[in-house]
Amino acid sequence: MFSEISLDQFVGTAGEIARLDLPEACANRLKSLGLFEGQQVLLARGGNPLIVKAAGGKIAVAGEIAKGIFMRVAL
């Protein structure tokens, strides 16, 4: 069984993105940088802005964005 938690609440260093709940322009920008549904990401730094690693890149995202990135967590 799986559940979802937003990235700003996420505890741990690695996980999979379950879905993006963000305005389209925002979501598209994240996706072109490699943050999309099903992608495996590493959390390099928490806080605000937080830094994630995915698709060979390193991306800083503001806390408000992180609230719209939902991670898959095992129950």
């Binding site: 920008r29 730094r45 060979g56």
Partner: protein, 692 residues
């Protein structure tokens, strides 16, 4: 980020058509260079074109592109167009839109070949846009850059596998060492001279057919509800393809180690350590700018002084000599001495950006800047504004949200640009002639006043005209890299030349104008004598010098500028300005540094060229007719405050109009800054007058 400081001047698009026709011979093939930011496109471009490139704008936009000619061999030459760095071709930003139109042949030049640049040390990341470009179905060549850096890290890329999978030729190159460039050129030549081969579509598989070229770039705007089919989720599809391809093409299989980058980032992006480092870097950079620039500035100053002396010696005394020496050399020279500072500041910015640090600085300052309604991305333009507001306003292109961009553009001219420095220097010299420490403090206060005013205004805009929060930060952090000196120098040269050309011409015209206004109409000898009689001046009792000074003052008051000055003087009187300062302020509304040359002309025109005193001495000795000194501490402070806050730069106004798309915002900027400057200077004058 890579385009953050990579901007161009406002009016270049007007000339781009001419540039293009001059640059591109009709027989030339056009090659468009495409790739992510930070894959080394600029270095490749510089190496291929031997640094001979022209920066212009895409037609009808302010987005810059660089065009250069490349000799492939003795008989074949191409026109190389460097497109803005981008992560995808969805046309979600103006840069992507322009690049997409260009690649689809909907611009002034039609590309014959697309040269895609990918990063050997990060294939997976940089292959994503490659696939989108391949789906345009045009002749394509892929250059795998930084091949030597990858090798050092133990990454061996199987170029032939990559070529087979991509369905186009692939060349491994290193822009740093020049490795593979001969092959790159010969491959381009083969593609251009050979028959057009059908291109294999990358990533095509039976269950996921390629999208037709015209549609592929727009599909993301479709409904994403049914995400799961590859047609509506091209991102996951593309990234998975890129990731798989990267895995297959890396022969060695060793994992890229970016532990160093991670460790450094832990420190540089830390909430407090990061902020401390940021402040240290900025203070160091600025100190270095002012410290290093002193020497070439002195040379330039001496050079212009020598030139003025030489011209005076050659030309006969008269209007022509006065025009050249006082108007042209005095006026333009006073501004050109700031070229070293502008160049060094841009050089530092280029180095900091290329190293990867600027992106970290944005992360650190974002949290603070958004409190006043500015996004973190506005930090680079605000920093560049300390050299000149024009490239800074152009650099706001990195800010996607219109609200955020407008907020940044509106406050950028409040930052202390180099054009204000002559004014600060002049005032510091008058207030603290023999106290460098206080003079430095005055400089620092002026800088602080500008920054604080910018943040306050940004906050007020957020509360009123531009409501809402700045869009949240999404920023790619490039790996740290040794910055390229050649690229930084090339960039500095471009910026410096733009300053000389654009600022130089405006300032030259204003200087000549001010000279003419303060010289004509001339006062006849009879009229002068009559005037002296009417003022009860006993001319016979004066010595030659006194008489000449009196004559010079009378000449000026008689000239158009003197009459104008008396008309506007009442407006500026509450700020403690006399009519000459008022004229200086008026003349500087076109370009603020002109006030120094105007005051230099107004207080300096006259006799005794052999007993030349410094501007500072002349100003300090200036008095009202009743003997009161003009430049009291209160007047100096008031003048300083006015120049920190006033919008006095026509070229900046033109750029604001161009970048915001309307004169409305340019007029608003001018209006609020002028009112702010006037009120603040008034308060400053009255306060200092009371205290002293």
């Amino acid at each position: 980020m890579s385009s953050a400081v990579d901007t161009t001047e406002s009016n270049s698009s007007d000339r781009s058509a001419n540039l293009d026709s001059a640059d591109k011979k009709s027989s030339d093939h056009v090659v468009a260079m495409l790739g992510n930011p930070n894959v080394g496109k600029t270095s490749i471009f510089n190496r291929l074109t031997n640094l001979l490139a022209k920066t212009s704008n895409f037609p009808g936009t302010t987005i810059d592109r660089r065009i250069g000619r490349v000799e492939l061999n003795a008989t074949s030459t191409i026109t190389l167009v460097d497109l803005p760095g981008m992560y995808s071709l969805e046309a979600s930003s103006p840069e992507e839109q322009v690049a997409r139109d260009f690649l689809l042949g909907q611009s002034d030049l039609v590309p014959d070949v697309i040269l895609i640049v990918v990063d050997a040390t990060n294939l997976q990341r940089t292959l994503f846009v490659t696939r989108q470009a391949l789906q345009l179905d045009r002749p394509t060549l892929v250059a795998v850059n930084m091949i030597e850096a990858a090798r050092r890290r133990g990454i061996e890329i199987d170029l032939s596998t990559l070529a087979r999978k991509l369905g186009c030729p692939v060349v491994g190159i290193s822009a740093r060492t020049g490795e593979g460039f001969d092959r790159l050129k010969s491959q381009l030549n083969i593609i251009l001279s050979g028959p057009r081969l059908p291109l294999l579509i990358a990533g095509a598989s039976p269950e996921c057919p390629p999208h037709p070229a015209e549609n592929v770039l727009t599909i993301v705007t479709e409904d994403e509800a049914s995400c799961g089919s590859c047609r509506v989720c091209p991102y996951a599809d593309g990234h998975q393809w890129a990731s798989a391809l990267a895995r297959e093409s890396i022969r060695d299989g060793s994992v890229v180690s970016d532990e160093t980058t991670d460790r450094v980032d832990q420190f540089l992006t830390h909430r407090w350590f990061g902020l401390a480092v940021f402040l240290i870097v900025m203070v160091a950079a600025f100190s270095l700018v002012f410290w290093i620039a002193q020497i070439p500035m002195q040379w330039l100053d001496d050079g212009f002084g020598w030139l003025a002396g030489a011209v005076s010696a050659v030309l006969p005394e008269g209007d022509l000599q006065s025009l050249i020496v006082d108007g042209v050399i005095g006026g333009v020279g006073g501004v050109m001495v700031f070229l070293p500072q502008i160049c060094i500041l841009f050089f530092m910015l280029a180095i900091l950006e290329d190293s990867g640090y600027l992106a970290r600085a944005v992360v650190v300052v974002d949290r603070w800047m958004r409190r006043v309604g500015l996004p973190g991305q506005a930090f680079v333009p605000l920093l560049a504004a300390h050299a000149c507001a024009i490239p800074a306003i152009m650099a706001t292109k990195v800010i996607e949200s219109r609200r955020d961009r407008l907020a940044a553009i509106m406050v950028i001219p409040l930052m202390t640009c180099s054009a204000r420095l002559p004014v600060y220097t002049m005032i510091a010299a008058m207030l603290f002639p023999s106290d460098p420490l206080f003079a430095a403090g005055l400089f620092a206060s002026a800088y602080m006043l500008g920054m604080v005013a910018a943040f306050v205004v940004a906050f007020l805009l957020k509360m009123t005209l531009l409501p809402g929060e700045p869009s949240p930060l999404i920023l790619d952090l490039p790996p740290y890299r040794a910055p390229s000196l050649v690229n930084a120098l090339r960039y500095t040269y471009e910026r410096g030349w733009m300053f000389l050309r654009d600022a130089g011409t405006v300032i030259l015209m204003i200087s000549i104008g001010i000279w003419a206004l303060s010289t004509y109409p001339k006062l006849s000898d009879e009229r002068f004598a009559a005037e002296m009689v009417s003022r009860d001046v006993a001319v016979a009792t004066l010595d030659e010098t006194e008489l000449a000074n009196l004559r010079a003052a009378a000449d000026q008051e008689h000239a158009i500028i003197g009459r104008l000055g008396r008309v506007v003087a009442p407006v500026f009187e509450p700020l403690g300005f006399d009519w000459k300062i008022s004229v200086g302020v008026l003349s500087s509304f076109a370009a603020r540094e002109v006030v120094v040359s105007t005051l230099s002309i107004l207080y300096g025109l006259g006799p005794e060229p052999e007993e030349e005193t410094s501007l500072q001495q002349r100003l300090s000795n200036a008095t009202y007719p009743d003997g009161r000194p003009v430049f009291t501490p209160a007047t100096c402070v008031s003048l300083l405050v006015f120049f920190v806050l006033a919008m006095q730069c026509l070229p900046t106004q033109a750029v604001t109009k161009k970048e915001t798309g309307s004169w409305k915002w340019a007029a608003f900027q001018f209006g609020y800054m002028t009112v702010l400057a006037y009120v603040a200077a008034l308060i400053a004058y009255q306060t200092v007058s009371l205290v002293s």
